[in-house]
């Protein structure tokens, strides 16, 4: 039996995945790269990133301050050697994007412009109006079309990593269009599947952000690192959760409570609206609890006010925000304040990977949001993630290219059996399943609401323990799931059930990791342990899969180079 076979296979077609694929062929043009994505690459969730990408480009800025801001923002949970390498590469990658055609907004002298952003001490966030992710994704995707070595499998859903003798040698994927199960083999596999926001009910993330790569790696025996570190963005639109970019505050917008007061003066007096996301989100919840939020049909909210910026600035720098306000809220942000509240946004944690994206399983790499290379620690600074996708996408691509030049060819023999087993598993468990009464949508919704309630901005032991029980029950219900769609053609219900399986796994890891971290650090705020505890927890949590619902947790020291942990005040 013949399988599609590549030197490097990238799973995921967002910014990190495509950047990695290009890096592979630029490192060694003779390599053949496959790219599997469950959606057409330009649909990837990178497209929704708005504010910008951080890079040190100005003479008055320095690598050291970008590193310091990132490390302080991470509440000292970032690996400092990784951060230091990152800040040096980010400007090169931003220039590379410019050469590929990204329409970066410019200064009058024609150079790439920068804007202020939360937690950054100076202006260093490059932007393309307020559609930065959209422009970067389309630029890098369209650029990728010029490389004949990159062969895409669009709309193919990966169900399993093929691991043989401790080495990753490919994936099993369902071609959505035909329903066919394919084994796609490769000497190296790069996971770049993005985030997992749909584990929560109220999230900025798109429907496709279901933690696929995290669950795939976890099942293949790789640890998931720092999964309790879930970022809540302060400014999401009520009801939809649509992201209102931090650039709104960067450009000078105010956050006000129902008394019209810029309440952040009580929380981040020196930074005000440019404080880091974790602290501002907590401040908003605290204000809500004190009765100082607005009450709306979709819950409490605050005002994000840009009226004083004027129409010209808004149209130049924040046109998409105006569009979103008009379309989804029915307001004109030039004349009306924007209703916002904290919303789940980003997973700092992810697949345990080193500075080159390599995981402990040989041949398996990870980059972008699905990975944790140690950059973001307890709280990611806004605009570091697009840069992360570029820097670590490229680094991972280069590392994989080097690895495959000396890696052995993949033997087709065991693959056939693995494909057969995986096909049978999905057919028996789902496609040909006759019994069952639980609706996918109902389990998913219960999981999402439970996560919002139990693993939100503030956490407690009681809430997390309760959550573990609820997740256990949901896992049982998942066993009694009902499948209505037996078609092999574009079966989105099959995709939903496989995604739900992944998400339940990710939710479990988040919950158990959060329960065990008995301190408050970065985005992980425990009401019962409100202080940071460097003695015990200046460590990464690493969760490994067991036969039980609860993972086995290990801890690894954070690597500290030049920045000694200090109290984190803004």
């Amino acid at each position: 039996m013949d399988f599609e076979s590549y030197d490097v296979l990238v799973v995921g077609g967002g910014l990190a995945g495509i950047r990695a694929a290009i890096a592979v062929v630029e490192t060694n043009p003779s390599l053949k790269v496959g790219m599997v994505s469950k959606v057409y690459p330009m649909r990837s969730h990178t497209v929704s990133a708005e504010g910008g990408a951080a890079a040190v480009l100005r003479p008055e800025d320095s690598y050291e301050t970008h590193a310091y801001d990132t490390i302080k923002g991470s509440d000292y949970l970032a690996d400092q050697d990784v951060v230091e390498a990152f800040v040096r590469e980010a400007p090169i990658e931003v220039i590379q994007m410019e050469h590929w055609g990204c329409p970066w907004s410019r200064d009058p002298d024609g150079k790439i412009s920068v804007r202020p952003f939360g937690g950054m001490t100076t202006w260093r966030t490059c932007f393309a109006a307020d559609k930065t992710g959209f422009h970067m994704l389309h630029t890098v995707f369209q650029t990728s079309l010029k490389y004949p070595q990159i062969h895409r499998h669009d709309e193919a859903f990966v169900t399993k990593l093929l691991v043989e003798d401790g080495r990753c040698v490919g994936v099993v994927a369902i071609d959505m269009r035909s329903g066919r199960f394919d084994a796609i083999t490769a000497k190296a596999v790069i996971l770049a599947t993005g985030g997992m926001g749909r584990v929560y009910a109220f999230t900025t993330n798109g429907n496709i952000c279901t933690g696929d790569g995290m669950a795939l790696a976890y099942r293949a025996g790789v640890g998931l690192k720092d999964m309790e570190m879930v970022q809540f963005h302060p400014t999401g639109l009520p009801f939809t959760g649509i992201l209102i970019t931090e650039a709104v505050r960067g450009e000078g917008g105010y956050l006000t409570n129902k008394d019209g007061e810029r309440f952040l003066k009580r929380y981040v007096p020196n930074k005000m609206e440019l404080g880091p996301r974790d602290i501002i989100s907590r401040a908003m919840i605290t204000e809500f609890e004190a009765g100082r939020g607005f009450e709306g049909p979709h819950g409490k909210y605050m005002h994000l006010d840009v009226r004083h910026l004027g129409e010209a600035v808004i149209d130049r720098k924040l046109p998409f925000m105006r569009e979103l306000g008009r379309e989804f809220v029915g307001i004109d942000i030039v004349h009306d304040p924007i209703p916002v509240r904290p919303v789940m946004h980003y997973m700092m944690g992810g697949v345990d990977a080193n500075i080159s994206g390599a995981t402990p399983v040989s041949g398996l790499y990870a980059a972008g949001e699905c990975a944790n290379v140690g950059l973001n620690g307890g709280n990611r600074l806004g605009s570091n993630s697009l840069s992360e996708c570029l820097v670590f996408g490229a680094a991972t691509g280069r590392a994989a290219a080097d690895y495959v030049s000396s890696a052995k060819a993949v033997s087709a023999n065991p693959i056939e059996g693995m494909l057969k087993d995986e096909t049978k598993r999905i057919e028996m468990d789902y496609l040909e399943k006759k019994s069952g009464e639980e609706r996918i949508g109902a389990i998913r919704e219960d999981m999402q609401l439970s996560m919002d309630a139990g693993a939100g901005v503030f956490r407690t032991r009681e809430g997390l323990e309760n959550l573990t029980k609820q997740l256990g029950k949901l896992r049982d219900r998942f066993g009694r799931i009902k499948i209505e769609d037996s078609s092999r053609t574009f079966n989105t219900e099959l995709m939903s059930v496989l995604e739900l399986d992944y998400m339940l796994e990710v939710a479990e890891v988040i919950t158990y990791s959060a329960l065990a971290r008995e301190e408050s650090r970065g985005a992980h705020a425990r009401r019962d342990f409100p202080e940071r505890d460097d003695e015990k927890f200046l460590k990464h949590t690493i969760a490994f899969r067991t036969d039980e619902i609860s993972p086995r947790l290990e801890y690894r020291d954070v690597r500290i180079t030049n920045f000694k942990p200090q109290a984190r005040a803004y």
């Binding site: 071609d175 269009r177 035909s178 066919r180 053609t489």
Partner: protein
């Protein structure tokens, strides 16, 4: 009314491609006016052919000039005039879409471009009218 195709671009899966119904241009006002615009060219062409024939006859001197003045022809001519006006207006409006000038590094607004087109049209009409009337006297 329909065609079924086997697509070969990826895996052979049967797809269903509905054919465009003959009355597709009745589905939307926009489509309808587009068809009207395209159709106006037809009677206009007939009328112009007739005009050429007239001119050829007029070449024989004043005795050869006897334009038809029957009511149907006048009605036809009026319709052709309306069609010509509609077609011209849509064409001149198009200029606002296509032409992009910059004056002092600032793009000229398309409304101004369209207005200038209509202005030029008006001037040309007046000049031609004046010439014809002048010669006619």
């Amino acid at each position: 009314m329909s065609a079924e195709t086997e697509t070969s671009s990826r895996v052979a899966t049967r797809t269903y491609k509905p054919a465009m119904p003959a009355g597709w241009w009745l589905r939307k006002g926009h489509y309808f006016w587009y068809m009207v615009r395209e159709f106006t060219a037809l009677p206009l062409a007939l009328w112009l052919l007739w005009l050429l024939y007239e001119i050829q006859r007029a070449g024989r001197g004043p005795s050869g000039y006897y334009p038809p003045s029957s009511t149907p022809f006048v009605v036809f001519s009026v319709i052709c005039l309306l069609f010509a006006l509609y077609h011209s207006i849509t064409f001149l409006r198009l200029a606002g879409v296509i032409l992009h000038f910059k004056v002092m590094d600032k793009p000229v607004p398309s409304g101004l471009v369209v207005a200038s087109q209509f202005g030029a049209w008006l001037v040309a009409s007046i000049v031609i009218g004046a010439v014809l009337i002048g010669f006619g006297r």
